[in-house]
């Protein structure tokens, strides 16, 4: 469906790398284990009581995602900086001296400079992404008249997996978000995590109609599990295997 190609020089956006500090590398690798672990450990109660479990898990996931942003990821300003740097490098290294000062501030922001965008990302996830993703899950076939709490919590978890790190590293630039929505960003860990969660949630619906009559086939258990597995797979793929590739539609 998608043909991967190597990055094209003229596009300004670059794949995001995890910060190269020790805690960043550590937590970046811990995050998939935490995400997968939480949902798999609570699988039984998820089947028994989806609403309660999803509600209970949400703060944990939110904390994991916040920590991931704060510890591992560069903030939007740094990303822009990196993008400018790459562009200027492409433009035969003009103005190296001017940039040095800016780099220093951007590379080493204090904790507040990281916590504020992380908090904003989470707020946006809650008030913007969740309703939007709720609408999209319904458009993709989620029940509308029944299971409202189920679907809303599903959308919340989907939003937690898909959007906070994207807000954190890309900010709110409309142009960038258009590129995100139309699959045009180069693949990296964060984008892989988001796309993987979306694809996993979509594929998670497959077992529901099968006539196995298992309790876990009920809405939205398979979708939730699919989205967590998809997120982790997407993150690993995006971070290691296909980093820097671009999805090329037609």
């Amino acid at each position: 469906m998608a043909t991967p190609v190597t990055p094209v020089a003229e596009t300004p956006s670059q794949p995001i790398s995890v910060l190269s500090t020790q805690p960043a590398l550590f937590f970046a690798n811990l995050q998939p284990i935490l995400l997968l672990g939480t949902v798999l450990f609570s699988f039984r109660s998820l089947v028994a009581n989806p609403v309660g479990t999803l509600l209970g898990l949400a703060p944990t996931v939110a904390i994991v995602q916040t920590l991931y942003c704060v510890i591992c990821l560069p903030i939007a300003a740094q990303v822009e900086e990196a993008g400018r740097k790459a562009a200027s490098r492409a433009g035969a290294g003009v103005g190296v001296g001017v940039k040095k000062k800016g780099t220093k501030t951007a590379q080493d922001p204090d904790i507040w400079a990281k916590l504020v965008p992380a908090f904003l990302s989470m707020t946006l996830t809650l008030v913007l992404s969740t309703p939007l993703l709720y609408i999209f899950t319904v458009l993709f076939g989620a029940p509308l008249m029944t299971h409202n709490a189920h679907t809303l919590l599903l959308a919340l978890h989907l939003a937690l997996l898909v959007t906070p790190h994207l807000y954190y590293v890309h900010g709110l630039d409309a142009q960038t978000w258009l590129r995100i929505a139309s699959l045009q960003l180069p693949l990296d860990e964060t984008y892989g995590l988001s796309l993987g969660a979306l694809a996993g949630a979509w594929m998670g619906a497959v077992p529901i109609p099968l006539d196995w009559d298992r309790e876990w086939q009920k809405w939205p258990v398979t979708v939730v599990v699919g989205m967590y597995i998809g997120a982790v797979v997407g993150k690993l793929l995006g971070g290691y295997v296909v980093k820097g590739w671009r999805i090329k539609l037609s």
């Binding site: 469906m1 998608a2 043909t3 319904v138 458009l139 993709f140 076939g141 509308l144 008249m145 258009l178 929505a181 139309s182 699959l183 045009q184 979509w202 619906a205 497959v206 529901i208 109609p209 099968l210 006539d211 196995w212 539609l249 037609s250």
Partner: protein, 964 residues
């Protein structure tokens, strides 16, 4: 990678020629052909064996009253909430409210005057095959279903076959019939002495259909000239279809049926000429929780079967039955002993003293042998039954093979009756031969004392034989099935050759291939075959999202990006509403949805939407179909003339079919049109449509010829003939769909507009507008979209892979007498109307839209002819000025070829998967209930949708669009 056009065209034509061949070859191997023994059975046949066993049976009864109540599920008669009070117990108990008083001995079942069973009805559980089973005793296969559509054909005529009715006639008896006119079609030409048929067409009729039967009963009970009276009540089935098994009319209807049983039974007690008569109360099939039937669900296959007669009270050691009672543990509808419906045939033959019908697979129901005082009678009927079935085994396996096997077992068993040394039978034939030789051996030992053994041996043979012969798994022709698959495989390869380029894959091409692949895998999972709609409902949004993203990238301007995004959202939103219109499939079939829950409660809104749909289509017909051909006022008037008869017909038809959807609406219109029959109303609306189509075609072609604008790849004209006809087709399809589905056409219109925006916006911005006829449209994208939407809407409109979901209600619009071709066409148009519509839209998409300039100036001059001519001449100059480069024009002529290649690839791949699934899973439990119906549907999709609609109709429309 591009291949020559000739090669592509040839391989595509070959592939499409091979597809029907593959279908036919596979079907011949897959659907078992059961040898039908000709002629009527006689006692003389049996006499060759000599001895008492072959002789004429002493009849216990001389009359039979066969009362069929359509969809009479077992619990309706035997359960605790039944309305059959008399059948269960006497009415006095009910009046005095002593329901729990179980020691009142005078009830039909508890009194021993009636012997109850649950009769297994094998799928397809629809009336006609069930009547066949009840009368011939054979097990109708899915091949019969195909013949049944051809109702006038010989396949459905039972008058010449060996049935218990024919046996009664052969004995010199007379038959009378009242009820469902299906019987009269099955037994035509004065087969019955007196008959009064009732049409079961409008299921909203709960009372008239039954009243029409009941009014004959008292007179017939008085007269004594008949030997069999057959009644078929339809009301209960209609109530089931309308309101489900728990509906408010259900209990009163059961009480009404019980009252008829009561009046018949009392007549049997009091009238001397009815003293030796037998009442059979049977359901032809049951119903599921939603009140429908056709499949193999537990409720559908378990109708009640009850034999009643005052004579049963005189049995020596009668078996007693508790009633009302609960079903067997772990089941919902299994009451008492379960027998096969076909068992009725030998049982009636035995009790009425007739030879058993030749093709019956039934087993005499042992409990009824208690009607004879003499134990040898049971042995006799069992032996005759076994002999008759043995002849079918002979016909099925070949006489030589069977007699050799029987000989082998007989010699062995004669030496050692316990059969210790003879080994274990290793196949079905040998198992049957062993049972049969042991039966004949017991028989030849034939002293009176061994009658019990005899009956047991014969019963053992019969049970085994019935199992093996009914399952018919033995009669697959696997080599032929494999040949069918091979031919289909070749067709698939040919199709791939006909594709212009397979590598490198485009997004749409890959998505299309993945769809084919997943669809193929899905065919092996029975639950996904039953719930196929989920597959399409799941894929479509993903594809729409992908298509939107792709086109957002392609389009340059911000406004266009926004338009693409909005279009995608519109398609998704309409899709989401549409998939909730009809709950289809098996598992959730009865759950609330828009059509069955929302519209009945808001019928006014529904009619407003229907009027809006007609209004919109009318507007399009006026503005598009008649554009430039006639003055605007005439166009508007013509469009209204086209729509009015259709709306009136739909209104009257819906009032007859589902009055709860109409209620008191438009009473005056209905009064005015009351003198005209529904048939003539439909004929009028079709006739004006046809007239309009012919006129428009003629005028458009002559106009095009007159202005010499219609070169194949010439400049875009304002409206192609294809589009003109498309709107007329829409009107036809709207009339052919159920009233509740009509608002979907508004959704269609919205989606197709949005799709137009999506597919065309990007292509227009890239290059400057060249006034060409064909659009520069990416065909794989169009094909994928059309494929997904066609399937989605097939299921949205209530279709599924189950036979019971075929909607017959619009198949007879405007057809007075039965006419195979007309009914077939209307049936297809009503069940596949979404797919047909989307095929037509796909054709339109291949033509470029009229350029902006034309649209703008047209509004200024208000469509006057003189202006049109000026504009056309200007366009002609433009066309001669811009010479389209040759490669792109070659591309254009291949557009439709490419589209057809894509569709053929999907059809061939899907068919191959269905065939493989049917072959590999031929011993699967669900082969007859899930996979065979799927194969029938695959045939319909391939021949009806692909060959006729996509290639035939679509090709014609594309051709017409190129001409004018």
């Amino acid at each position: 990678m591009a291949r020559g056009k000739t090669i592509r065209l040839t391989s595509l034509a070959l592939a499409n020629a091979l597809l029907p061949v593959a279908l036919l070859v596979f079907a011949v191997g897959f659907f078992p052909y059961k040898p039908l023994l000709p002629g009527l059975a006689t006692f003389e046949d049996d006499r060759e064996n000599g001895g008492w066993a072959g002789g004429r049976l002493e009849p216990v009864f001389d009359r039979v009253i066969f009362m069929v109540v359509d969809a009479l599920r077992s619990d309706f008669v035997y359960g605790h909430n039944s309305g059959f009070h008399f059948t269960q117990k006497y009415e006095q108990d009910m009046i005095h409210g002593r329901e729990s008083d179980t020691d009142v001995p005078c009830s039909l079942i508890r009194d021993g005057a009636a012997i109850p069973f649950t009769a297994h009805a094998s799928p397809p559980t629809v009336t006609m095959p069930r009547i066949k089973a009840l009368t011939t005793g054979s097990v109708p296969s899915f091949a019969d279903l195909i013949f049944n559509l051809d109702e006038s054909g010989s396949g459905a005529n039972l008058a010449t076959q060996d049935t218990w009715l024919a046996q009664i006639k052969a004995k010199g008896g007379k038959l009378v019939f009242f009820g469902d006119d299906t019987w009269l079609r099955l037994f035509p030409n004065d087969f019955f002495e007196r008959a009064d048929g009732t049409s079961s067409f409008f299921v909203s009729d709960f009372t008239e259909v039954d009243h029409n039967v009941t009014r004959h009963v008292p007179a017939e009970l008085e007269s004594d000239d008949w030997s069999a009276m057959i009644m078929h009540y339809l009301g209960l089935d209609h109530i089931g279809h309308k309101t489900g098994p728990q509906g408010p009319n259900m209990l009163p209807k059961q009480e009404e049926m019980d009252g008829i049983v009561k009046s018949i039974y009392e007549a049997m007690e009091s009238q001397p000429h009815l003293a030796k008569s037998l009442l059979v109360l049977a359901g032809d099939h049951g119903m599921n929780a939603g009140g429908n039937h056709g499949g193999s669900g537990p409720g559908e296959t378990e109708p009640a079967l009850l034999f009643a007669s005052p004579k049963f009270k005189e049995r020596k050691n009668p078996t007693t039955y508790e009633c009302p009672t609960s079903p067997k543990e772990g089941t919902e509808f299994h009451y008492y002993r379960k027998v096969q419906q076909s068992d009725i045939v030998p049982t009636l033959a035995g009790l009425l003293g007739m030879p058993i019908s030749k093709n019956s697979l039934g087993v005499f129901i042992g409990e009824l042998a208690e009607a004879w005082s003499d134990a040898s009678r049971k042995a006799q009927i069992m032996y005759q039954n076994a002999r008759q079935i043995s002849k079918i085994v002979e016909a099925a396996y070949g006489a030589d093979a069977y007699s050799t096997a029987v000989e082998k077992w007989s010699t062995c068993l004669r030496k050692d009756p316990s059969a210790g040394d003879c080994g274990i039978p290793d196949d079905q034939l040998s198992a049957l031969a062993k049972r049969w030789s042991s039966t004949t051996l017991t028989m030849s030992g034939g002293s009176e004392a061994r009658h019990g053994d005899m009956s047991q041996e014969a019963a053992a043979f019969l049970t085994v034989a019935q199992d093996i012969l009914s399952s018919a798994a033995s009669s697959y022709d696997v080599p032929r099935m494999v040949l069918g698959m091979l031919i289909c495989g070749i067709a698939l390869v040919m199709t791939l050759v006909s594709l212009p380029a397979v590598w490198p894959p485009s997004t749409a091409g890959s998505f299309f291939a993945i769809t084919c692949f997943l669809y193929g895998i899905m065919m092996f999972a029975s639950s996904y075959v039953e719930e196929e709609q989920h597959f399409w409902y799941w894929l479509t949004p993903a594809w729409v999202a992908l298509l939107t993203a792709e086109n957002v990238i392609r389009s340059r301007q911000r406004s266009e990006k926004l338009a693409c995004f909005t279009s995608g959202l519109v398609i998704l939103a309409v899709h989401r509403i549409a998939i909730r219109c009809n709950q289809t499939g098996q598992k959730h079939a009865g759950e609330p949805d828009i059509v069955h829950t929302f519209f009945p409660e808001h019928h006014l809104l529904m009619w407003l939407l229907i009027l809006a749909t007609y209004g919109y289509t009318c507007w399009m017909v006026a503005g598009r179909t008649f554009l430039d051909l006639v003055p605007g006022e005439v166009a508007a008037l013509s469009a209204i003339v086209l729509a009015i008869p259709a709306v009136v017909f739909k209104l009257n038809f819906t009032h007859a079919d589902a009055p709860e959807l109409v209620q008191d609406l438009a009473l005056q219109i209905r009064v005015w049109t009351a003198p005209f029959s529904l048939v003539s109303q439909a004929q009028v609306s079709f006739a004006v449509l046809l007239l309009a189509a012919l006129t428009v075609s003629a005028m458009a072609v002559s106009l095009a010829r007159g202005t010499e604008l219609a070169r194949k790849d010439g400049p875009a004209v304002n409206v192609t003939l294809a589009e003109r006809l498309h709107h007329l087709l829409t009107l036809f399809l709207i009339t052919q769909s159920r009233a509740t589905n009509i608002p979907l056409f508004l959704g269609f219109a919205l989606q197709s507009r949005a799709l137009h925006q999506l597919l065309h916006s990007a292509t227009h911005t890239d290059t400057e507008i060249v006034p060409r006829r064909s659009a520069a449209i990416p065909i794989p994208e169009l094909a994928t979209t059309a494929l997904l939407l066609s399937h989605t809407y097939f299921f949205c409109e209530g279709g599924s892979n189950s036979i019971s979901s075929v909607d017959l209600s619009n198949a007879y619009n405007g057809v007075g007498d039965y006419n195979v071709a007309a009914v077939g066409l209307l049936l297809f148009a009503s069940n596949w109307n979404g797919p047909i519509w989307w095929c037509s839209v796909a054709v339109l998409m291949t033509f470029s839209r009229p350029s902006q300039a034309i649209d703008d100036s047209r509004t200024k001059t208000n469509g006057s002819r003189s202006w049109v001519n000026q504009e056309r001449s200007k366009l002609r100059q433009d066309a001669s000025a811009t010479k389209p480069s040759s490669p792109s024009s070659a591309q254009d002529t291949n557009l439709w070829l490419w589209y057809v290649s894509c569709m053929t690839a999907f059809v061939a791949a899907g068919l191959l998967a269905v065939m493989t699934a049917c072959t590999l899973l031929r011993t699967h439990l669900f082969i007859w209930t899930v996979f065979s119906p799927k194969y029938l549907y695959a045939m319909a999709w391939c021949i009806g949708w692909h060959l006729l609609v996509n290639i035939g109709f679509g090709g014609a429309l594309r051709g017409l669009g190129s001409i004018a």
